[in-house]
């Protein structure tokens, strides 16, 4: 198949590439700003206004503070645990649920759909959930409390259900003819075909867990179970200067007390985000191969 190299097509490409380039630059800026800021020195950063393309004075003070937190390692390990175990558990549950909801021959399909969708809009609130998790299930201060109460995101499950429904009927039928039951159908046919969406949902769950801290605040008490974000938050708050008559300056190292807040905030963001940015390309290859649609056999 010969590619259409018409003028219109070329023009389209040029405009498309250019626009995307602009979008990319605009989207790159916030992270660049924070990255540059995180390497600045406290005073320079605090006094700076406007766009920042280079660090304002160079210093590693921000990182020193954030990384010297003795709990950083434990925080990373805990978060790793919650992300890996949590995402696996959630994916299993979500896949099972999405599969059931996608089967037109499931009599309770409609009922179950309504059943889960309603929970997106009505809930008991924080106190009721807290009581159920801690009193009924005795999960206070346990790692399970981070994962189990939020095993399924209804939104994600519906997206996955939609993807499952889109699997061509022909594939299903031929599998059935070969004698496949639902389990085989799910694992051998549905999952491989919807790999891209599965990758995205996995990414959504993993990132959400990576960024989360509120559940830990509510259910955890032992510091050795705290996720990374909680320690980072603590660091950030403890380095915030507050406006009160009790703020005393310090004659030694005033920068480290008076001007440090923004620097710590920036360093915190980088420390929290870099791991995700590193992992992301591995997930990306699952869904960026939509090259099939855009290009033809070249």
């Amino acid at each position: 198949m010969v590619e259409n190299k018409s003028f219109g097509s070329r023009l389209f490409d040029i405009i498309n590439y250019a626009l995307l380039g602009v979008v990319a630059l605009l989207c790159l800026y916030p992270l660049w700003h924070v990255l540059m800021g995180s390497f600045s020195d406290p005073k320079g950063l605090t006094l700076h206004t406007g766009i920042m393309l280079w660090p304002e004075g160079f210093s590693l003070a921000g990182y020193q503070i954030v990384l010297s937190n003795p709990n950083i390692l434990s925080g990373y390990l805990n978060t790793l645990f919650y992300v890996v175990v949590g995402t696996c558990a959630r994916m299993v549950m979500t896949i099972l649920g999405a599969y059931a909801l996608s089967r037109s021959n499931f009599l309770l399909k409609r009922a179950m759909s309504v059943f889960v969708v309603v929970t997106m809009y009505f809930g008991g609130g924080l106190i009721a959930s807290f009581l159920v998790v801690t009193k009924v299930f005795n999960m206070y201060d346990s790692r399970a409390a981070i994962i189990v109460p939020s095993l399924v995101s209804t939104w994600n499950m519906i997206i996955l259900k939609t993807a499952f429904q889109r699997v061509p009927a022909s594939l299903e039928e031929s599998a059935r003819l070969d004698g496949a039951n639902d389990l085989v159908l799910l694992i051998r046919i549905i999952l491989p075909v919807t790999m891209a969406t599965l990758a995205v949902i996995t990414l959504y769950y993993a990132v959400a867990e990576w960024n989360s801290w509120f559940t830990a605040v509510v259910y955890l008490r032992s510091r050795e179970k705290f996720p990374l974000q909680l320690f980072l938050r603590e660091t950030l708050i403890s380095y915030s200067t507050s406006m009160s008559d009790e703020v005393t300056g310090s004659m030694d190292a005033p920068d480290m007390v008076l001007f440090i807040e923004e620097l710590v905030r920036y360093a915190t963001i980088i420390v929290a985000t870099v791991p995700i940015l590193c992992i992301y390309p591995f997930a990306q290859r699952y869904f960026i191969t939509g090259v099939m649609m855009g290009s033809l056999k070249e």
Binding site: L47, G249, L258, F259
Partner: protein, 519 residues
């Protein structure tokens, strides 16, 4: 005969009460068979840099050793205190004691006692917290502040043992000393002075904003000239009034609008970060805390000076906007889950004895401080030049108890903050203009504690009132709304129920002032 009996009874009563006063001993520490008590308290965020629990705080370490009662601290996640507190209550697993900055239970401590969360301390104070009871007995103003409308004591609170109420004013107008000197105008006092300076800035310093004010438009250091205050209510001639609802507000807004039109204020003042503007040289004057400004500008090399509060004319009597009340808001309560409430009371009482207060205010005895020649504590090098701490700010939460943790007697910051000891310049800067003869704090009232019904009603009305007046104040200043419509503004506030709010608050205040201890 009857008369003699009466006299006899009278004398007898006096003797009995006198002897009981003599018998008001302090507690014998260490107590026998002291147990371990759990206490829920927010951990100061600056302390969190180095320690994870107040059990590592030296004042507490000593206090536990000395009293023979141990503590186990439970700290909520920083920043989520109210949420954590209420969840703890909902789960019915609370600690023996609780310390908060402000009552967090819906309905306040009165509701908490009603619902069986905290215990009523009133009757037990004499026996188990004599030092605290003594303070209450001798300081009626303090007693009034912390007791419930019906005269009960439900919580220990911080007691600020400081003679000077005025010491508190910490917000001032800070100006570039070099530019002020250049202008040759001298210390600015009246509106006319300030306007002359602003005009000078506009004429001589290109691109500089003369004055950077608070984003909400209501700047306390300026409004004071019109007897207007940030506090919800102020007192004048025995009657409460609300600055938002005062005719004088129109004069203030006229001045601000004039300044806005002339360019003395930034057209963007709502969004401009005034501290940042001043420090980058984009503004010539701003209002902020003295201590913060002094230390930051010293570090940045910016010559700064603070100014007396704005006056309409020379010598105008100013009524300050901030006073230090004996109640230094830290509330420690004892919960109904505590198995040894008497012991808890005995432990807390330590902080109200002179020695105990010294421990909390200055640190571990003999280590952080020693008694000076005047019999008052003096810091040692352990506190002032401790090599383990890069800056003193951090050590004040670990080597001593700067704030929070537990309610106790507090001394003035001037004496207890090591930095003030180290840097007299800072202290001088902070106390500058305090010696003004035409300054009093007569218009300040302590925070009002409403009954739960009143509080409900007041809160539901006040949010709307505040929303509306916040908006209108800014609109008047920027000219989006003409000041000709000021009367409409007052009328709208009236229709929103501000007079009812005033009435509720006046009633509460009157009851408050009339409260007298039962004994």
């Amino acid at each position: 005969m009857k008369r003699k009996l009466l006299v006899f009874l009278l004398v007898l009563t006096m003797l009995v009460s006198a002897s009981s006063a003599l018998a008001a001993a302090s507690i014998d520490y260490p107590v026998e068979n002291g147990h371990t008590l759990s206490i829920w308290a927010p951990l100061n965020s600056a302390a969190a840099k180095k320690i994870t629990s107040y059990n590592e705080n030296e004042s507490f370490i000593f206090a536990q050793e000395y009293t023979g009662i141990s503590l186990e601290f439970v700290h909520p996640a920083i920043g989520q205190e109210t949420e954590s507190f209420n969840l703890m209550i909902a789960s019915e697993e609370y600690t023996d004691m609780v310390t908060v900055w402000n009552p967090m239970y819906p309905g306040g401590n009165v509701a908490a006692v009603e619902d069986g969360v905290f215990i009523d301390l009133t009757d037990k104070l004499d026996e188990y917290s004599p030092a605290f009871a003594e303070i209450l007995a001798t300081n009626t103003e303090y007693w009034r502040e912390i007791s419930t409308p019906d005269g009960r004591i439900l919580a220990y609170t911080g007691y600020k043992n400081s003679t000077d109420k005025q010491e508190g004013s910490y917000n001032r107008l800070q100006v570039r000393a070099d530019w002020l000197e250049e202008s040759g105008l001298g210390i600015l006092r009246t509106i006319a002075d300030y306007e002359a300076f602003f005009q000078w800035i506009l004429d001589n310093k290109e691109g500089v904003i003369p004055l950077a004010i608070e984003g909400d438009g209501f700047d306390a250091t300026l409004a004071i000239a019109f007897e207007l205050y940030e506090a919800n209510y102020s007192l004048r001639d025995g009657a409460l009034y609300a600055s938002r609802y005062d005719p004088a507000l129109k004069d203030y807004l006229e001045m601000m609008h004039r300044w806005y039109e002339k360019g003395y204020l930034s057209k963007d003042f709502v969004s401009v970060d005034r501290q940042n503007a001043f420090e980058t040289g984009a503004a010539a004057m701003f209002s902020y805390t003295s201590v913060d400004t002094y230390t930051r500008c010293a570090s940045l090399g910016i010559p700064v000076e603070n100014l007396p509060y704005l006056r309409q004319e020379e010598g105008q009597q100013l009524h300050g906007f901030y006073a230090i009340w004996p109640n230094n808001t830290v509330y420690t309560t004892i919960t109904t889950k505590c198995e040894y409430p008497e012991e808890a009371m005995e432990f807390i009482d330590f902080g109200y004895t002179e020695f105990g207060a010294n421990v909390y205010n200055f640190g571990y005895p003999e280590r952080a401080w020693v008694y000076g020649e005047d019999g008052k504590p003096q810091y040692t090098d352990y506190m002032l030049h401790n090599p383990d701490y890069a800056n003193i700010n951090d050590s004040t939460h670990i080597l001593k108890l700067h704030s929070g943790g537990i309610a106790r007697m507090r001394y003035s910051d001037a004496v207890t903050i090591p930095d003030n000891v180290l840097d007299p310049g800072c202290l001088t800067y902070r106390l500058q203009w305090m010696d003004d003869p035409n300054y009093d704090i007569d218009y300040c009232i302590p925070s009002l504690v409403y009954t739960t019904e009143d509080n409900d009603r007041h809160a539901s009305l006040w949010t709307d009132i505040k929303t509306y007046s916040d908006e209108m104040i800014l609109k008047f200043i920027t000219g989006a709304e003409s000041l000709d419509n000021f009367d409409n503004y007052l009328a709208t506030l009236k229709s929103m129920g501000i007079e009812e709010c005033l009435e509720i608050s006046q009633r509460t205040y009157d009851a408050f002032m009339q409260k007298t201890p039962a004994k």
